[in-house]
């Protein structure tokens, strides 16, 4: 087992519980997709990315773009925990004039590189950032987390084509493959498979991992080359929508929803029960 894996598994439990707590404060949220991507986010923010929360504009930082902007409910507690801002700042999540809503705003939330929310846009932005990095011969890398459903968008594939064309080895896409878009299973709504083959045929190195297996996630991220490479990497992170809460798992009515006090308590209890034994 990877030396960091156990610690990060615990961190993922913490983050999932914060997602539930925050959704209670916010009166609901994109729970399914935020819970599914939590492990990949934890791997990124506590193992992969270089950043300085006290200096969000640090020029040497790695860049992370959340293309599935509706995952703000998952990302914002991570940024908070990583030290970008105090928890009190999220106390009015979703309220009038709050910096925090369903989708992240780069001009309101420290640590957010790009305002996202309209699906399909993030990878193109990441391509522009990666091209800038190459132009400046920078060592930092670019990571972009997409939803699987948003890969229905043509713009994703325009971006994918250009990333390999421009030899963006400094760019890594992670697709949170939770198998659902808003209306149902992706393979029923708009089939994505053979998904990995699509990325490979667009010139990317592509691997698939169990997105809830921290060991596999860390191994995949550790294999990503440095910024000087020529080939972009796609990590398809196979996940369960609503992961960790029994009544939310693969239950699409929890794509965007809120828990009452009783369900909140149950969710937190179930998540705590997922905590691994400390070695």
């Amino acid at each position: 087992m990877h030396q960091d894996a156990l610690e990060l598994q615990n961190k993922a439990v913490d983050i999932r519980k914060k997602i539930i707590e925050l959704s209670a404060v916010a009166g609901g949220g994109h729970l399914g997709g935020s819970l599914s991507m939590a492990d990949a986010l934890v791997a990124l923010y506590y193992h992969v990315l270089k950043y300085d929360p006290k200096n969000p504009d640090w020029p040497e930082r790695d860049r992370f773009i959340l293309s599935k902007g509706h995952g703000a409910l998952g990302l914002c507690p991570v940024l908070c925990d990583a030290g970008y801002y105090a928890e009190e700042m999220m106390a009015n999540f979703n309220d009038l004039d709050s910096p925090f809503g369903m989708h992240p705003d780069m001009n309101k939330i420290p640590g957010i590189e790009m305002s996202t929310g309209s699906l399909g846009h993030g990878l193109s932005v990441a391509v522009g950032v990666a091209l800038s990095g190459k132009l400046d011969k920078a060592d930092w890398r670019v990571f972009c987390l997409l939803g699987d459903g948003e890969c229905d968008e043509g713009m994703v594939w325009e971006a994918a084509m250009s990333a390999s064309h421009f030899k963006l080895g400094n760019l890594t896409a992670i697709v949170d493959r939770n198998g659902y878009s808003l209306d149902g299973p992706t393979e029923e709504i708009m089939a994505l498979e053979p998904f990995a083959e699509k990325w490979r045929s667009f010139g990317w190195d592509c691997c698939e991992v169990d997105g809830h297996d921290m060991d596999q996630l860390l191994e995949a991220f550790d294999k990503v080359g440095d910024a000087g490479g020529d080939t972009p990497t796609c990590i398809i992170s196979n996940t369960v929508k609503g992961k960790g809460v029994s009544f939310m798992e693969n239950a699409n009515e929890w794509h965007y929803a809120g828990c009452d006090d009783e369900l909140t308590a149950q969710a937190l209890e179930e998540l705590e029960a997922c905590r691994p034994e400390r070695g």
């Binding site: 001009n107 305002s115 846009h121 193109s124 522009g128 800038s132 971006a159």
Partner: protein, 321 residues
């Protein structure tokens, strides 16, 4: 010279705004390493080849994928670059409306959207390639500055000034064969209209290629003893409302003139200003009368839609009756 769109090749009599765009960028690039130039398989017709040859490492051709180009432009901007992203106006404003609004204008990024072949300048390309909605679309995006240079010299001023300007700019270039309005030294400031002909009887507020047509009509009217003021409203947003109110006060008659649908563009912006100022003036909008423009050479189209010197001359005479 190949047959077809002869007006996209170098015009020996007139100086092309699009040619100027590529030239000026190539010239100023060594002074500012933030400049990057993006195109979508239109390097030849956008005249960005000069830049591509001089600075190949800062030139990015995205192929026929405008939305990805605009998204990437946002990515360059958040990385501290000043991207000049060019494609035809119809694609920049319609196909990429959401990228302009959500990826560029909403985060208030320093992207310069250089839209070429605007208005009717694609001529016999027909409606699919005419861009008569782009001013309306872009001026309704908060944070977006909208500029329609009248000629190549004005275009050069905008490019240079844009390096120190904060926020996104939509710059609308036309057929690339606009007659020169500004010769020698002239004042130019984004957001400040230029009065290019004085006159006290009527005011024409125009932008782009319409400015020269209005100047010609004004000269003709002068011989008849009619003073037709011509204002080059190169910046549609932020709008120089002071110049409009002053003209309305002093001349009492306003005609707007633009290579755009009469709905939503310069005419609408001027009309809103006059109405909110509570001024009762005679007012007319010249432009495409809310129809899809027909096929034809640009000059024939300008004549058809009264956007040439005769058109504005007749419109002024009509308003004065």
């Amino acid at each position: 010279m190949p047959k077809g769109f002869t007006w996209t090749t170098l015009d020996v009599d007139k100086f092309a705004t699009r040619e100027m765009y590529g030239k000026i960028l190539a010239e100023i690039a060594p002074t500012d390493d933030r400049i990057v130039v993006l195109t979508s398989d239109l390097m030849m017709s956008n005249k960005t080849g000069d830049f591509a040859r001089a600075h190949p490492e800062r030139f990015f051709n995205f192929g026929i994928a405008e939305q990805n180009m605009m998204g990437a432009a946002a990515g360059f901007a958040i990385s501290g670059k000043i991207p000049f992203a060019s494609t035809m106006a119809v694609f920049a404003s319609l196909r990429c409306a959401e990228q302009l609004r959500t990826d560029i204008a909403y985060p208030n990024l320093n992207v310069r959207i250089i839209s070429t072949h605007s208005g009717l300048s694609m001529g016999n390309g027909g409606t699919t390639h005419h861009s008569t909605e782009d001013i309306a679309i872009t001026r309704s995006m908060a944070n977006m500055t909208v500029i329609v240079p009248a000629d190549a010299n004005c275009c050069a001023k905008v490019i240079v000034e844009s390096l120190e300007y904060q926020g996104p700019i939509y710059m609308r270039l036309g057929r690339g064969a606009e007659p020169i309005v500004y010769k020698g030294e002239f004042d130019f400031e984004i957001g400040k209209a230029n009065t290019v002909r004085e006159g006290g009887d009527v005011t024409v507020i125009a932008c782009g290629i319409c400015v020269m047509a209005a100047i010609k009509a004004s000269r003709k009217l002068e011989k008849e003893g009619i003073g037709a003021r011509v204002i080059d409203m190169h910046t549609i947003k932020p709008l120089d409302t002071e110049a409009i109110v002053k003209a309305a006060d002093e001349t009492g008659k306003i005609i707007t003139m633009e290579e755009h649908n009469i709905i939503g563009g310069l005419g609408s912006a001027v009309g809103e200003t006059i109405a909110e100022a509570g001024l009762g003036v005679k007012f007319k909008r010249l432009g495409i009368p809310d129809i899809y423009s027909t096929i034809g050479q640009p000059d024939d189209l300008y004549e058809r839609y009264e956007l040439d010197a005769d058109g504005i001359y007749n419109a002024i005479k009509g308003l004065l009756q």
